[in-house]
Structures are given as C-alpha cells and as structure tokens.
Amino acid sequence: MSVKVRFFARFRELLGTDIFAEPANDTPIALLVAGIARKNPDGYDAIFDEHGTFREFVIVMQNGKRVETADAATVMVADGDEIAIFPPVAGG
C-alpha cells in the first residue's frame, strides 16, 4: 500500500515533506513515522521521546482527522492515507 507523510514547519526542514511510503499491512502510524524520521536523528528527537512515542505536543493527523499521540501506536495506516505531522509554535 502507499501512504503519504507530510511534515510541517520545523519538522519539514529536518525531514522533508510529502514522503511516499509503502508500509506493510497493519503498520501503526507511530511506527511508519518513526521509520521515516530515523533518517535524521534531530528530526526523530524533535518528534519522538526517549521511549519512541510521539512527544505529547506534536499534532498528528490522519486524512485531516486528529489522532491522539497516545493512540498513534495502535491506529493503523491504510492504503491512500495522508499522515500529517505538525509542530505547534509558542512565540509571540
């Protein structure tokens, strides 16, 4: 199957965007994204904590619908999915 992963803002700078992946069936979102993010340790660290789970502030979307970071390890991707990973910013 084919899944598109889009990283935004700083995550895009570190990892690129609009990445097409071909995961096996029953691949959870977190596993897919972690696999892609590993190509840049800084990118991986920005998104995942030391336990390999999404940092809580990261916004994860599956086809425009929010997926809780805590659920991303169990929610599976499906063929044609678009996964978006977005870092909220804090400055003013």
């Binding site: 935004f8 803002a9 700083r10 502030f57 978006a84 977005f86 910013v89 804090a90 400055g91 003013g92």
Partner: protein
C-alpha cells in the same frame, strides 16, 4: 454616530461594511495580551481600523533585541516600558479611539479583572501557560478568543468562539517546549494581521472566521495550510466535565 472626521478617516473601509460596520468597530472593546511581536501589528491595525477601545497588557521594557519585530517600538524607546511606548504610538496612529495600557503580569489571580467585559480577547503572548489562562477566561466569560503564535518563518492562528468551536486546550493539550525561538518580524506581521483580520470580521459580522480551523503559515515555502480541529469531549477546559478553576500555574 460617526463624526464627519471619522467618516473621512474610515471612508475606504466604510465602502466594505458601511456606517453600521464602522459603528460596530467604534463601540467595540478589544483586549490584547502583549505588546510585542504579535501585539504590534494587531494593535496598530485595530487602532487604525477604528476599534473604539483597546486595552493591552504588557510587563516588559523595550530591549534592543525586540526591535527586529516589535514595530510598535523604535530605537529611541529602548529602556522604556512597552506600555508607555505602545500607548504613545497608538494614540498617534489614531487619536479618535481610547487606548488603555496596563503594565502588569497576567496571572490566574488578576486575569478576570484585567479582561473585564470586552468583545474579544487577542492572544499576543509568547507562552502557553498564559495562553491557557486567556482561553479559560474567554470560555468562562463567553468572549471570542483570537489565538496566534509564531516561530522563525512559521506561524499559526485560530479563532475560538466559546460554545461553538473547540478551545485552545482541545487543540493543544500539551504546550510545546518553552524555548527562546528565532523569529523574523515579517512572521509576526503575517500572523498578527491574520488575527487582526479575524477581529475585524467578527466585529463587523463579515466573512468566515477561522472557527474550528487552525491556519498554519510556512513563510519559507510561502504556503498556508489549514487543519480542521474538533472539540475534545474530555477537554479539561471546555469539555462536559470542565472545572471552572484554572489549574495552570501562575506566571
């Protein structure tokens, strides 16, 4: 009633929303939390649009390192309180409106009194603890809350209408790490003017607000996107079991 002078001053925008819209702006009272990067374009554009009363709060002093983005303040203001500097500029921009400047730190203890009864609360803060406080007070008083935040060339904005849209805590359950972020003034300009546009639209009743939508801006790619946001039924701020006591730490 608008004076002859006001008719002339606002002529080009009265073409957009009529005397009625301009009267609505004149009667409005907007609270702006912060007179820094975002607060500068927000307050300037709301002042020149003729928002009748603007109250803003800031605790800081103008520093040279602020001047790449905080366009309310100039070189000669270094060392002055931002409230003093900003008040002078806004009065110059538009002497026909009322501007109140409050030099204090926003805390859980004073926020209710600071905000009072206004028509909109604008987020021009640089940290989430105070943003969460503003969100809570907006929900409690049922006042629209105009969120914005920036970092580097990136920014985000959304408009929260209590009872109608998700709130800030639905969207950001956990704040991003606190750090001194790099920033370029133009990003504050983009996001601040998006927020000011939302305030004007809300007051005159035109267009579609960023309600339930997070606008995200990537200045490096010159691309904007939006993320649909949904209410979290378990949200501690606006969900069914929400408590009215803000649990956030004082800042």
């Amino acid at each position: 009633m608008l004076s002859e002078r006001e008719h002339e001053r606002y002529k080009r925008q009265i073409m957009l929303f009529g005397d009625e819209g301009q009267e609505r702006l004149k009667k409005a009272h907007i609270f702006i939390a912060g007179a820094g990067g975002l607060g500068s374009p927000i307050s300037i554009y709301l002042a020149v649009a003729g928002v009748g009363t603007i109250t803003f709060v800031d605790r800081d002093t103008v520093d040279q390192s602020n001047l790449n983005r905080q366009i309310l303040h100039t070189d000669r203001d270094i060392g002055k309180k931002k409230t003093v500097s900003a008040l002078a500029k806004l009065r110059e921009y538009n002497p026909d409106i009322t501007v109140n400047a409050i030099d204090t730190t926003i805390t859980a203890d004073n926020i209710h009194e600071l905000v009072g009864q206004v028509d909109g609360i604008v987020d021009a803060m640089d940290n989430y603890p105070v943003r969460y406080l503003l969100n809570r007070v907006a929900l409690e008083k049922k006042i629209p809350f105009f969120h914005g935040a920036i970092s580097g060339f990136y920014g985000q904005a959304t408009t929260i209408i209590p009872g109608r849209t998700p709130c800030l805590e639905c969207l950001f359950k956990k704040s991003p790490p606190d750090e001194i972020t790099p920033v370029i003034g133009v990003t504050a300009g983009v996001i601040g003017t998006v927020q000011a546009t939302e305030v004007v639209k809300y007051l005159v009743g035109q267009g579609d607000l960023l309600a339930g939508r997070l606008f995200i801006w990537d200045g490096l790619l010159a691309k904007s996107e939006e993320i649909a946001i949904v209410q979290n039924p378990a949200c501690p701020a606006c969900g069914s079991r929400a408590s009215s006591i803000p649990p956030m730490e004082k800042s």
